[in-house]
């Protein structure tokens, strides 16, 4: 057993924390890396949010006020890229980094060095992307979907955009591989798959989606690059290609990407709701199978993003029915969350408020999605503010609320201090009122025919745009409360117990608050009683 002895020697060497800048630059610790991911995501949330503020300021009144149309289009384009690749995905991975090893009873992620690289790529990739604002021809302005031939008109920014996407993709794939290896290989004895907390389950499935879809995006943007610089004809009909081909390849990535973003949020609220309803999650197994079905189906619905592009009728019908079928497993999940709360002894702390917010407002986004999944009516909704309202309902109160709920839920565990409950509730209520003022009127604008990605509009849309902008400014400002709550909580506050929440169950709550530097140095024995909440 000389091996085991050398392990232990090795371990003693660095049980103390490394200090200074090296602790962060050279980190092999899942908590430090998770923290960096979350801080980076929060910064990008405000960078992307600032761009949204510019968009809403310009749309406050009809006419051109503050920015020229090219810059406006850059704002919508880069806002989307920053929010998706800079804020939402890193936030999800950050929570996974922090929580998964603690939830499955592991000391760390399976590949800690690769974990560090997947984080550090992000700030550099974001630099590539944001630097494009200072280049000849301006930042990319053809929309985040990068459709050719429009995107090929981008100036010097073009190759930087492509390489930023490649770079971010490398990060995501490494992160996903790490998560799968961790969950498959690092579970504590007795932690069988069907005892995993649902957050872990949703993350395994998300990781599969990432591995299967990010390389396809890499292929798509590589083809754009060669079309622009090396004279290939992938998206050029004059050489036998087809611009629509890009849309197919892009959305083959793009649709699973939607679930990459939303499944971790589903996982988080599946942890929060049972805790504050003080009941086990209703239908645990059906939740697992529903999540897997959603992920599987997500590979067969991509063309519902392109109903108006001119596909054969069979294609339109297939993708319509496939899209409708996703509503079934999603409905199972909504039903299970609701049933979990049924006759529970509920309390409404901030994480629970955000989780219920997801349940209600994600459903609004889900239903408007069903409306657009019906091909003939989508011809009316396509590229209007209706779709903008739809996916913002999914993303803001569906995904960001899940992440914020998770932050409130686990903040006492991470810091050892309770956050300020009054401020948390204030944050929830201001956000929830303003997010509806912001996005609900956009449904009306879209149905009345207001197109997306245009800086000016007909006078008939003026009122709802002004209301929407007011909601936007309030929502943007109210997120500063979150920053204040987090800073306050890190600096001190009422001490949290190990279990933190009365109804909390699972391995992560057996560790001290804050947990030790390496979570479980000796694997815990998992019994039925201590299994998932």
């Amino acid at each position: 057993m000389s091996e085991a002895v050398s392990h232990e020697d090795h371990h003693d060497d660095h049980d103390h924390k490394p200090t200074g800048i090296k602790r962060w630059l050279f980190s092999t610790n899942h908590k430090d890396i998770g923290t960096m991911y979350l801080v980076f995501a929060l910064i990008m949330f405000f960078v992307g949010g600032a761009m949204a503020m510019v968009i809403r300021a310009e749309l406050f009144q009809p006419g051109l006020q503050y920015v020229d149309p090219q810059f406006f289009n850059s704002m919508t384009t880069v806002h989307a890229l920053v929010m998706i690749f800079g804020a939402l995905m890193p936030a999800g991975v950050g929570l996974a980094n922090w929580m998964i090893p603690m939830m499955i009873g592991a000391p760390d992620m399976a590949m800690p060095r690769m974990n560090n690289m997947s984080f550090w790529i992000l700030p550099f990739a974001a630099t590539l992307l944001i630097a494009t604002f200072f280049m000849e021809g301006g930042a990319p302005a053809g929309g985040w979907t990068m459709y050719p031939p429009l995107v090929l008109q981008t100036g010097d920014a073009f190759p930087f955009l492509i390489f930023a996407v490649h770079f971010l993709g490398i990060s995501s794939i490494m992160g996903a591989i790490n998560i799968i290896a961790t969950v498959f290989n690092m579970r504590a004895p007795g932690m069988t798959f069907m005892k995993l907390p649902l957050f872990v389950w949703t993350w395994i499935i998300t990781a599969f989606l990432l591995i299967a879809s990010m390389p396809v995006l890499a292929g798509a943007v590589t083809m754009l690059l060669t079309d622009k610089f090396f004279g290939t004809a992938f998206f050029n009909a004059a050489g036998g290609g087809d611009p629509v081909l890009f849309q197919h390849v892009f959305w083959f990535f793009g649709h699973p990407e939607v679930y990459i973003l939303v499944l971790p949020s589903f996982g988080i609220i599946s942890q929060i709701i049972p805790t504050f309803a003080r009941k086990p999650l209703f239908g645990y197994e059906s939740m697992v199978y529903a999540t897997a079905s959603i992920a599987f189906l997500s590979f067969f619905v991509w063309a519902h993003h392109m109903f108006t592009v001119g596909m054969p009728l069979t294609g339109e019908l297939f993708f319509m029915y496939a899209t409708m079928s996703i509503a079934v497993p999603t409905g199972v999940k909504i039903f299970n969350w609701t049933a979990t709360m049924w006759k529970g002894s509920m309390t409404f702390e901030t994480p629970m408020l955000f989780a219920i917010g997801v349940l209600f407002m994600f459903s609004i986004g889900g239903f408007s999605g069903l409306m657009m999944g019906i091909t003939p009516v989508d011809f009316q909704y396509h590229d209007t503010y209706f779709i903008v309202a739809h996916f913002h309902y999914v993303i803001v109160p569906g995904i960001i609320y899940g992440v914020i709920g998770g932050v409130y839920f686990w903040l006492p565990k991470w810091t050892g201090n309770m956050y300020d409950e009054k401020l948390g509730k204030l944050h929830f209520w201001i956000s929830t009122i303003s997010v509806n003022v912001l996005f609900f009127p956009q449904h009306f604008l879209g149905l009345a025919g207001m197109p997306r990605r245009i800086p000016d509009y007909n006078i008939q849309f003026a009122e709802w745009n002004m209301i929407s902008s007011i909601g936007g400014f309030v929502f943007g400002l109210s997120q500063l409360i979150l920053v204040w709550v987090v800073i306050k909580c890190v600096r001190g506050g009422e001490k949290a117990t190990d279990q933190v929440w009365e109804g909390a169950q699972g391995l992560e709550w057996t560790l001290s608050s804050p947990p030790p530097f390496h979570s479980f140095t000796v694997p815990p024995q998992v019994t039925d009683a201590s299994a998932h909440s």
Binding site: A110, I211, G241
Partner: protein
């Protein structure tokens, strides 16, 4: 993993991840500046690639050192297996995007341009009414910006030889593995050497084929959708063969130095998996790009 109870392996803080990130960052900036038409970019790109090589060398040296010290338990071994397996799947999906483009062009976009199908009638009539669909697409709908080629590489010439080379290399790498499992060092090294040789011979044949295509057939990256799919698919595959053969070379050198044991040799197996993946992609290329 019963033998790792109470003793997990966590690597020391390491500088390689941040070095690797910087290396890729510099390479991407260099490549972008280069594509925007500045010669200075080539210089930056060169530095970036040198940094990438430095990172790989340094990172793998650390990993090999840890492995030789016996720090890797069976559990770490399994993590590596999952990691390599899913990495290969991500590579498969990357190739899938290009195969998808090939199938889309052959089955949908070229026939539509030629007037087939309900949607094709208008496409054909309004865009290039004199265009006739064919595959290989040697006459483009609008040849103005594309090179017209005279012929394509026939499947049962050099590509068939290449198929034979790669398939045999799959066999030799398996023989090497069997030799390793029997602790037959000389057998291991000989079969590995044969595999590396076959791999690089394949690359040489591909290079010759590209030379022929560019200089005698007029078939280039600019030859419309046929040239685009042909060179992007075979080019990325060729790049992967070079990577795989280089990895095999490293394994060969390590084998000659006496690394690996009959039971503990995931580096060898990981590279062998990768080599088989490259092999399978080639079969797809041979059938769908060259043959059919």
């Amino acid at each position: 993993m019963s033998d790792s109870q109470g003793a997990y392996f966590i690597p020391e803080p390491s500088r390689w991840p941040i070095v690797g990130t910087l290396a890729l960052f510099v390479s991407f900036i260099g490549a972008a500046v280069m594509l925007n038409g500045s010669g200075f970019g080539t210089f930056i790109f060169g530095i970036g690639i040198a940094m990438v090589i430095y990172m790989f060398a340094g990172w793998f040296a650390d990993v090999i050192g840890e492995s030789l010290k016996g720090l890797y338990s069976d559990q770490v071994d399994v993590s590596f297996r999952w990691g390599m397996g899913w990495f290969i799947l991500s590579e498969v999906m990357f190739f899938a995007a290009f195969f998808g483009a090939l199938f889309y062009a052959r089955v949908l976009s070229v026939p539509w341009l030629g007037g087939e199908g309900a949607g094709g009638i208008a496409t054909h009539e309004f865009l290039w009414p004199s265009f006739e669909a064919s595959w290989p697409l040697d006459v483009m709908p609008d040849p103005a910006n594309f090179m017209v080629f005279e012929e394509v590489i026939p499947a049962f010439g050099l590509p068939a030889v290449n198929t034979l080379l790669l398939l045999s290399s799959g066999v030799t790498v398996t023989f090497a593995h069997w030799a390793l499992k029997k602790d037959n060092r000389s057998g291991l090294c000989c079969w590995l050497f044969a595999t590396v040789l076959l791999g690089f011979t394949f690359v040489a044949c591909q290079a010759y084929e590209y030379y022929e295509a560019y200089h005698h057939m007029g078939l280039t990256l600019r030859s419309g959708i046929y040239g685009s799919t042909f060179f992007m698919l075979t080019g990325f595959h060729g790049f992967h063969v070079i990577m795989g053969a280089t990895m095999l070379l490293v394994i060969l050198i390590r084998s000659m130095k006496g690394h690996f044991s009959e039971k503990h040799h995931f580096a060898f197996e990981g590279v062998a998996w990768y080599w088989h993946f490259v092999d399978v992609v080639w079969l797809g290329l041979f059938i769908f790009v060259y043959w059919l």
